[in-house]
C-alpha cells in the first residue's frame, strides 16, 4: 500500500505491476499475507482515491497481461503459504492461534484472487465498461484530463467540437488497422454496444429532461456552453473525446486519438478515473445546447434549458427533431427514433392488455382504472378471446369488438395518450417539451376520447344478437309445457 501511495502520476505507466513487485519481493509469505491492502483497490476500482493506482481492468491488452501475471504470482504465494503450513503442521510448532490467523489470511487471499479474476474478466464485457462510463462525472475538464489514464472507455464527454481538431488528429480509421488484433474480440459488435449504451442514454435523457426541475438549474454563464452540430450528434459514435468532443465508434480509436492531445494521455494510469473530489470544484461545468433553432434546448430560446450531457444531446435531438425510423416489429404502429426506446417498447408491446372502451390501452391496470374513474362512461374492456379480425365481423353476443375497432381507428393518437403512463413510453415528452405535452397534447387526446365515447355508446344497441337460435318454441311444446309450471 505504501509503495502504491508513493507512486507519482508520472510513473503511472508501469504502476500496474508495482504491487506485484512488492509482493514478490517479500521473502516471508506470512508478511505478505498480512498485507492485504494492495489488493483492495481491485474490489472498488473506481473508489476515487487519488493515491491508488489501479491495475486497469479495461480491455487494454497490456494491462490485461499485467493483471494475469499478477494473478499468477498471487496464486504462487498462496501456494507457498499453504505449503509452509503443511510442513509445519507435522511439527506442531505453531500455536493454535497462529494457525487460525494463517487460515484467515489464506482465505482472504483467495477471496482477493477471485475478485481480481472476476474484475479482469469483467473488463471484457461491454456492459461493465458502460456502467463505468455512467459512473463518471458528466463533463470532463482540463484538470480531469490530466488524470485521465488508461481507461479510454471512461473518457468523459466533451463537445469542444471544432473542425480544426479533425485535421490535427489522425482519422480513426488509421488506427483501426493498428489495433485490429486487439479490438476485434472486444468491441467488434458495435450494434450490441450501441443498444446497451443507448439504453442508458434513455436514462440520461430523462435526467436531462429533469434538469430544469431538480435544482440543478445553473444560472446562465456559470457553465461552459457547447453546441454540437447535427452531423456530429447523429454520428453513430459512442466514445467521445473529453477535450475536443470528437466521437469514435471504437474505444481503441479514441485512445489513439487521445495520444494526439499530448504525452500525458499516453500512459494507462493517466486514463484512470480522476478523483472527483479533488477536481470537481475546479472544473468549469459543461452544458449543451441543441442545434435546432427554436427548440427550448437551443441556446437562443428565451427559456433555454441546457442539456446535461452529450448523451442527453444525442437522445434529445433524435427524439425531438429526427424522423422516427425504427418501427416496432410487433404492432407496426409505434415508431421511435432512438433504438433503445424501440427495444424498451418491444419488451412491453402486445402486453398492453389493459384496454378501455374508448380504445386507449394501458400497460398497467392501475393506470386503466384511474382513467376509467376519471371519465364518465368509460368502461374497462376485456380482451376478446377470439382473434380480433374474426370477431369484428361476427355479431357475437360477446361484446368486445368495439374496443378493438376503436383501437385501430384511434391509431396514432393512442400513444400520445398512453405515453404519460409508463416511463418506457414517455420517450417523447420529457426532454424538450414536457410542459407542452401535458397541457395541450393530453387535453386534445381527451377530447378525442369523448368523441369516441359517443360512438361507442350508440353502437351498443345496434349490435345484433343471434341468440334465439335453436330455441324450441313450437306451439305444441308451448301447450304441453304448461303442465309443468310449478305454482309457487
Amino acid at each position: 500500500m505504501d509503495s502504491n501511495q508513493n507512486n507519482s502520476r508520472g510513473q503511472s505507466a508501469n504502476l500496474s505491476s508495482n504491487p506485484l513487485y512488492y509482493q514478490f519481493g517479500s521473502d516471508n509469505p506470512l508478511l505478505s499475507m498480512g498485507m492485504q491492502q494492495p489488493f483492495h483497490p481491485f474490489t472498488s476500482p473506481f473508489g476515487a482515491s487519488s493515491s491508488t493506482n489501479i491495475p486497469q481492468m479495461d480491455w487494454n491488452p497490456g494491462t490485461m497481461l499485467d493483471n494475469l501475471s499478477f494473478i499468477e504470482e498471487k496464486i504462487r504465494q498462496v501456494k507457498d503459504v499453504i505449503r509452509t503450513m503443511v510442513d509445519n503442521g507435522g511439527q506442531l510448532t505453531y500455536r493454535p492461534g497462529e494457525l487460525g490467523q494463517q487460515q484467515q489470511a489464506v482465505n482472504a487471499d483467495l477471496t482477493c484472487l477471485i475478485v481480481q479474476l472476476i474484475s479482469t474478466a469483467g473488463s471484457l464485457l461491454p456492459s461493465l465498461k458502460n456502467s463505468s462510463f455512467l459512473s463518471h462525472p458528466p463533463a470532463g475538464h482540463m484538470e480531469m484530463a490530466n488524470h485521465v489514464g488508461s481507461s479510454s472507455s471512461m473518457v468523459p464527454n466533451t463537445a469542444a467540437h471544432s473542425e480544426d481538431n479533425n485535421e490535427d488528429l489522425c482519422s480513426p480509421e488509421d488506427y483501426e488497422e493498428l489495433f485490429k488484433g486487439f479490438t476485434d474480440g472486444a468491441v467488434e459488435d458495435t450494434e450490441i454496444e450501441n443498444v446497451l449504451v443507448e439504453e442508458q442514454d434513455t436514462k440520461d435523457g430523462d435526467e436531462g429532461g429533469d434538469a430544469g426541475m431538480d435544482g440543478d438549474n445553473l444560472p446562465p454563464g456559470s457553465y461552459e456552453l457547447l453546441q454540437l452540430e447535427r452531423d456530429e450528434i447523429l454520428a453513430p459514435h459512442t466514445h467521445f473525446c473529453s477535450i475536443c468532443g470528437k466521437g469514435f465508434k471504437r474505444d481503441a480509436n479514441l485512445r489513439m486519438h487521445m495520444r494526439g492531445h499530448g504525452d500525458e494521455y499516453k500512459s494507462p494510469a493517466a486514463l484512470a478515473k480522476p478523483p472527483r473530489d479533488a477536481s470537481a470544484e475546479h472544473a468549469p461545468v459543461k452544458r449543451y445546447s441543441c442545434p435546432f433553432i427554436g427548440c427550448k434546448r437551443n441556446k437562443l430560446h428565451k427559456n433555454f434549458q441546457p442539456l446535461k450531457t452529450i448523451l442527453c444531446v444525442k437522445n434529445h435531438y433524435k427524439r425531438s427533431h429526427c424522423e422516427k425510423s425504427h418501427t416496432c416489429s410487433r404492432c407496426h404502429t409505434k415508431k421511435f427514433s432512438v433504438m433503445a426506446d424501440l427495444k424498451t417498447h418491444e419488451k412491453h408491446c402486445g402486453r398492453d392488455k389493459w384496454l378501455c372502451s374508448c380504445g386507449t390501452s394501458f400497460s398497467r391496470k392501475d393506470k386503466l382504472f384511474a382513467h376509467v374513474a376519471l371519465f364518465q362512461g368509460h368502461t374497462p374492456a376485456l380482451p376478446s378471446d377470439e382473434p380480433k379480425d374474426s370477431s369484428d365481423q361476427v355479431g357475437l353476443p360477446g361484446s368486445h369488438q368495439e374496443p378493438a375497432k376503436l383501437a385501430s381507428s384511434v391509431g396514432s393518437f393512442m400513444w400520445g395518450n398512453s405515453s404519460g403512463d409508463d416511463s418506457a413510453l414517455d420517450v417523447k415528452g420529457l426532454d424538450s417539451c414536457s410542459d407542452d405535452f401535458l397541457s395541450t397534447a393530453n387535453f386534445g387526446s381527451f377530447n378525442f376520447s369523448f368523441g369516441q365515447l359517443d360512438e361507442f355508446v350508440y353502437a351498443v344497441p345496434s349490435r345484433s344478437i343471434e341468440a334465439g337460435s335453436g330455441m324450441p318454441a313450437t306451439a305444441s311444446e308451448h301447450e304441453a309445457s304448461l303442465t309443468d309450471w310449478s305454482i309457487c
Binding site: K365, D366, F369, V372, A373, G377, H378, T379, P380, A381, L382, L396, P397, G398, S399, H400, V460, I465, A467, G468, S469, G470, M471, P472, A473, E477, H478, E479, A480, S481, L482, T483, D484, W485, S486, I487, C488
Partner: protein, 710 residues
C-alpha cells in the same frame, strides 16, 4: 281442497289430464263447471256470484282480487283456478307476476303465456343454458324486473347478453354461485343500466376488470354482493366506490380488501350495510385509517372473522361511524373493557353480536355500562362469560329483546334468575347446552318471560314443569327442546293447549315422548310448519295421523322412528300437501306404498332422505315423478338395484344433489351418470358402515357429554 278428502288424488290427476287429452282442451262448459263447483266453498267467501254463472262474466279486476285471495290461502290453488274456465285461464295468465319454472326449456312458453310477469325465479332449474336465457329476448317485450339465477348453472356470458338485451328494465339480478362466471359475464351485466340489486357472490373468476364494467355500467346499484369474489383487489373496489355512489348495501365478505380501498368504500355517501366477514386485509391500519364521523349513514357493520382486527382497530372504527345500529364482531378479537367503552361513541347501537369471542376480565360488564341501548345481544360460544358479569349486563340492558347464550357452559341458575327478572320483555332466548342450569332455573323462563317467540333449550335439563311454565308464552312460534330427556307427553300437552302460534318445534331425541303428546301438540298447534321427531323411538303412525291435520306442515323429520310405517306416511302425504322436506332415514317399516302416496300427493317435495328404508326400485321410480325434487339421499337401501336407481335418476329432471352408496358408483354406467350430471346434478358417494341399531337417547346424551369433558 282439503275439504274434499275422499278423492284428492283424482282431482290432481284430473288437472294433469286436462292438458294431455283433447276433449278437455276444448273446456266444455260442463267440465269447467265441475272445476268451479269443486272450488265452490272457497270462492263463495269472496265472490258474490254463486257457482251457476260462469266466471267469465266477472270483470278482470274482480277476478284479480279473487286470484290474490286464492293465492294467499293456498298458492297451489292458482293452477286449479286457471283450469276452471277460459276467462280464469286468461285472467291468471295476465295477473301472474312471479314465474318459477321447473325447467328452463319451458321459458319461451312461460313468458308467452305470462306477459306481465316481472319476476323470474329459476331456482328450481339446476341447469339453464344460454339458449334458454336467450328465449327471454325471443319473447316479445319483456317486463322482467327481477331474475334469480342463484341456483342455476350452465349459462355464460352469451345468455346474460341476451338477457340484458331483452330486459332493459331489469332491476334485480342474482347470479350467486356462478362459479364459472367471470369478467365477460360481468361485462354483460354492466349493460343493464338500471340494475339496482346485484349479487355476484362466489363468481370466483371475476376480477377487477369485470367489476369495473359493472361499476361503470350500473350507476344505480343500491345493493351489491361480491362475497367470495377472490379475484378482486383494491383497484376494482376503489372504482366501484367511485362510480356507484348510490350503494346502500355492500357485501365484501372474504374479498381481499385492504386499507387502500377501505376508506373509499367507507366514504360511500349512502352506505348503510357493510359486510366484511373474513376479510384478512381489514386490520387495525385499515380500521384506523378513517377520520372521525367519516360515514354518518352506516347502520350495519359486520367484521366477523376478520382475524387481523384487534381491540385498537375496533376502538378507532367506531369513531367514524356514529350512527351504527348493528355491529358484528364474532370470532374477531378478544373483548376488552377499553374496547367496549369506546362504544359510547355509537349511542344507537341496538344489535351486538359477539359470537365466539373471548371475554377479558370485566369485558362483559363494560357492555352493560357502555351499550345501554342494545336490544339484541349474542354471546354464543363465548369464553369467559361468568354468572357475575352476565347478571350485571342483563341488569343494565333493560331493553333487551333477544339474547343468545348458546354454549356458555359456565353459567348457572344465578344468571338465569337475573335474566328472567331483568329482561321480562325478551322475545328470543337461545341457550342451547347450558349444562349447569338446573330444571328449577329453567322454570323461571316461562314464569317471567311470557313474550317469548323463540326459545332454544336444546340439550338442557328441561322437565315437564319447565314446559308447563313455557306454555305461558302464548306467542311462542319456535321451540327447540331437543335432547331434553326429561320431557314427556304431559309437557307437550301444555304446549299444545297454550301455544297456538307455534310453527316450528324440535323434539330431536326426546326419548320420553310418545303418540299422545304429539297428538295433543298437533291438535293445538295447527299452524305447525316444521317438526322434528327424530329418534323419538316411541312414535308410531298415530302421531303422523295427528300431524296430517297440520295443513301447513312443510318439514317432517322422523329419522330413527322404527315404528312408523307407510300408513303414517300416506296420511301425512294426503294431509300435508305443502310437504317439501321429508327425512325418514331408519324408518325401516316404510316401503313402496308410502312412496306411492308421496309421489301422488306431495308435489311440493324438494328433499327426501330414504336411507335404510324398505323402499325398492318401484318406490324410487314413483318418487322420481315429482318434478320439483332436488335433493335425494339413498344410502343402504336393500331393495334398490343399479338399474332402478339409474332409471329414477334419468326421469327426475330437477335433481341437484344425490347422495348414494359408494358401492353403486362402479355398478352404474358412467355415461348415464355423466348425463345426469350434465343436467346440473351433483353426486356424493357415501361410504358409511351399515348400522341398524339405535342407541337409547340417554346413552347418546352421555356420550356427547363425555366428548365435551375430554
Amino acid at each position: 281442497m282439503k275439504r274434499s278428502p275422499p278423492l284428492p288424488a283424482q282431482h290432481v290427476r284430473g288437472g294433469n289430464i286436462v292438458i294431455s287429452t283433447p276433449p278437455l282442451l276444448g273446456r266444455s262448459h260442463q267440465e269447467s263447471m265441475a272445476m268451479t263447483s269443486h272450488r265452490q266453498p272457497k270462492r263463495r267467501r269472496f265472490s258474490p256470484a254463486p257457482a251457476s254463472p260462469p266466471l267469465d262474466l266477472l270483470a278482470d279486476e274482480l277476478l284479480f282480487l279473487v286470484l290474490d285471495r286464492v293465492a294467499a290461502a293456498d298458492p297451489r290453488a292458482l293452477k286449479s283456478f286457471a283450469l276452471a274456465s277460459r276467462a280464469c285461464h286468461a285472467a291468471e295468465s295476465r295477473h301472474r307476476r312471479v314465474l318459477r319454472p321447473l325447467r328452463a326449456e319451458l321459458l319461451p312458453a312461460a313468458l308467452a303465456r305470462y306477459p306481465s310477469a316481472t319476476s323470474l325465479d329459476l331456482s328450481l332449474c339446476a341447469r339453464v343454458t344460454d339458449a334458454a336465457l336467450s328465449a327471454v329476448s325471443a319473447a316479445s317485450p319483456s317486463n322482467l324486473r327481477a331474475v334469480d339465477l342463484s341456483r342455476s348453472s350452465g349459462f355464460g356470458a352469451a345468455g346474460l347478453a341476451a338477457l340484458s338485451k331483452a330486459s332493459p328494465d331489469l332491476v334485480d339480478l342474482d347470479l350467486s354461485n356462478g362459479v364459472d362466471l367471470g369478467d365477460v359475464a360481468a361485462a354483460e351485466v354492466g349493460r343493464v343500466r338500471r340494475l339496482q340489486r346485484l349479487s355476484l357472490s362466489r363468481c370466483k373468476p371475476l376480477t377487477d376488470m369485470g367489476l369495473g364494467c359493472v361499476a361503470v355500467g350500473c350507476p344505480d346499484l343500491r345493493e351489491l354482493s361480491l362475497k367470495w369474489c377472490l379475484g378482486l383487489t383494491d383497484l376494482g373496489l376503489k372504482l366501484l366506490a367511485h362510480k356507484c355512489k348510490k350503494l346502500r348495501t355492500l357485501d365484501l365478505s372474504y374479498v381481499m380488501i385492504s386499507k387502500n380501498s377501505f376508506p373509499a368504500i367507507m366514504k360511500l355517501p349512502n352506505l348503510e350495510v357493510l359486510t366484511l366477514v373474513g376479510c384478512t386485509g381489514i386490520d387495525d391500519d385499515a380500521l384506523g385509517s378513517l377520520e372521525k364521523d367519516c360515514n354518518k349513514t352506516l347502520q350495519v357493520l359486520d367484521i366477523s372473522h376478520c382475524q387481523n382486527a384487534t381491540e385498537a382497530g375496533v376502538s378507532s372504527i367506531v369513531k367514524s361511524i356514529p350512527n351504527l345500529s348493528e355491529l358484528n364482531l364474532s370470532y374477531c378479537c378478544p373483548i376488552t373493557p377499553s374496547m367496549v367503552s369506546s362504544f359510547h361513541r355509537i349511542p344507537n347501537l341496538q344489535i351486538l353480536k359477539l359470537e365466539g369471542c373471548k371475554f377479558m376480565a370485566d369485558g362483559l360488564k363494560s357492555i352493560g355500562r357502555s351499550c345501554g341501548s342494545v336490544r339484541e345481544l349474542s354471546l354464543s360460544k363465548c369464553s369467559g362469560v361468568t354468572d357475575a358479569e352476565l347478571s350485571f349486563v342483563v341488569s343494565r340492558l333493560n331493553n333487551l329483546l333477544k339474547l343468545d347464550i348458546t354454549c356458555c357452559r359456565n353459567i348457572t341458575d344465578v344468571s338465569i334468575a337475573s335474566i328472567t327478572s331483568s329482561c321480562t320483555s325478551l322475545t328470543s332466548l337461545r341457550m342451547e347446552s347450558c349444562a349447569h342450569v338446573s330444571s328449577e332455573g329453567l322454570r323461571l323462563i316461562g314464569k317471567h318471560c311470557c313474550h317469548l317467540e323463540e326459545l332454544d333449550l336444546t340439550d338442557n335439563d328441561l322437565d315437564d314443569e319447565g314446559l308447563k311454565a313455557i306454555a305461558r308464552c302464548s306467542k311462542l312460534s319456535s321451540l327447540k327442546v331437543g335432547i331434553c330427556l326429561k320431557i314427556s307427553d304431559e309437557g307437550l300437552t301444555h304446549i299444545g293447549k297454550a301455544c297456538p302460534e307455534l310453527r316450528d318445534i324440535d323434539l330431536y331425541r326426546c326419548g320420553g315422548i310418545s303418540d299422545d303428546g304429539v297428538t295433543q301438540l298437533a291438535q293445538g298447534c295447527t299452524k305447525l310448519e316444521s317438526i322434528n321427531l327424530s329418534y323419538c323411538t316411541d312414535i308410531t303412525d298415530r302421531s303422523l295421523m295427528a300431524l296430517s291435520k297440520c295443513a301447513k306442515l312443510n318439514t317432517l323429520e322422523i329419522r330413527g322412528c322404527p315404528r312408523v310405517s307407510s300408513c303414517g306416511i300416506a296420511e301425512v302425504a294426503m294431509g300435508c300437501r305443502l310437504l317439501s322436506k321429508l327425512d325418514i332415514k331408519k324408518c325401516f317399516e316404510i316401503n313402496d306404498v308410502g312412496m306411492l302416496y308421496i309421489s301422488q300427493f306431495s308435489h311440493s317435495l324438494r328433499q327426501i332422505n330414504l336411507s335404510y328404508c324398505s323402499v325398492t326400485d318401484i318406490g324410487l321410480l314413483s318418487l322420481s315423478s315429482i318434478c320439483g325434487l332436488q335433493n335425494m339421499t339413498i344410502i343402504h337401501l336393500a331393495g334398490i338395484t343399479p338399474n332402478g336407481l339409474i332409471a329414477a335418476l334419468m326421469v327426475c329432471g330437477g335433481l341437484t344433489k344425490v347422495k348414494l352408496n359408494a358401492a353403486f358408483k362402479s355398478m352404474m354406467p358412467p355415461h348415464m351418470l355423466r348425463n345426469v350430471e350434465a343436467r346440473g346434478c351433483v353426486f356424493q358417494w357415501i361410504n358409511k358402515p351399515y348400522k341398524v341399531e339405535l342407541e337409547p337417547c340417554d346413552v347418546w346424551k352421555q356420550q356427547s357429554r363425555d366428548v365435551l369433558v375430554r
